[in-house]
Symmetry: C2
Subunit: 137 residues, 2 copies
DNA sequence: TTGCTTGCAAATGATTTGCACTGCT
DNA sequence: AGCAGTGCAAATCATTTGCAAGCAA
């Protein structure tokens, strides 16, 4: 993770820890999960995550209650993906989209770009439902 | 809006007001907007919105900070649609998806249904960027 | 009448901030 | 050295809840 160098952020031990936790996760994490996974104090975790989001290294994923979740921006993680969100417990899992769907989405986004006046940066395709555990429990 | 009859919710003046505000809006509203638009006290607005979400009449849309937004469920509003979210000011606008995209999304969702163990209820396709005002401002 | 609803104020829980201290570069 | 970064505790903000009084069915 060399991402911080070109930005105005020092690569401190705390930030290293926060990024390491996000890097090792296959799903977006809540602040609480980042704190317990990294050992970084809560207030610093909030501050670091906010800075990293601001810098574009991390993205906030809004789940369903229980606070926002965070993951590495796609350019710093392995690949483009989408989210499977449990509307019951709030758990978020990553999944890969089909190339065909992505292509069509890109086309749709281009059309919106032309008509909406929005400066479009990215898209979110979330699928929602109840996860295996919640269905069972 | 006859939606409440079959549910276990009384059609009170407050709920009527809350639903009226949502009905008249072309975009999802924050709790604060619902409160100022309906005159219903904040605590009651929160309670009503939660009940309506529970009953499936209203859906919560997670924007970008500034609290969740709410809109009528698609079966009670005009049509299926998606959201254009401004990552700067949090504004959410509705837009119509292409039928072609919807078809492909449905197919993708079917595939996930088979592999994920999730009981899938619906999908969210959001496009994010900066709105005309924020780009200008 | 009956019990769901309401409104206020107090409680909660997540997130933010002031400030003095620490440690990166 | 110099200033960004840190940690604690206090402050803030959205949201939730207890409880007595009000209203729909």
């Amino acid at each position: 993770m060399q991402a911080l160098a070109p930005l105005e952020l020092r690569l401190t031990g705390n930030r290293r820890s926060v990024l390491a936790v996000l890097e090792q996760s296959s799903r977006p994490l809540t602040v609480e999960e980042v704190v317990s996974g990294s050992g970084v104090p809560t207030s610093t975790a909030y501050r670091n995550l906010a800075e990293l989001v601001e810098a574009g290294v991390v993205v906030r994923v809004s789940g369903v209650g229980g606070g926002d979740r965070h993951e590495l921006a796609e350019q710093f993680s392995q690949h483009h993906h989408h989210h499977l969100v449990c509307t019951d417990c709030g758990m978020v899992t990553d999944f890969d989209p089909s190339p065909q769907l992505e292509k069509l989405i890109d086309r749709e986004v281009d059309a919106l770009l032309a008509t909406s006046g929005f400066e479009i940066t990215h898209h979110v395709f979330d699928v929602r439902g109840r996860c295996r555990d919640c269905v069972a429990g």
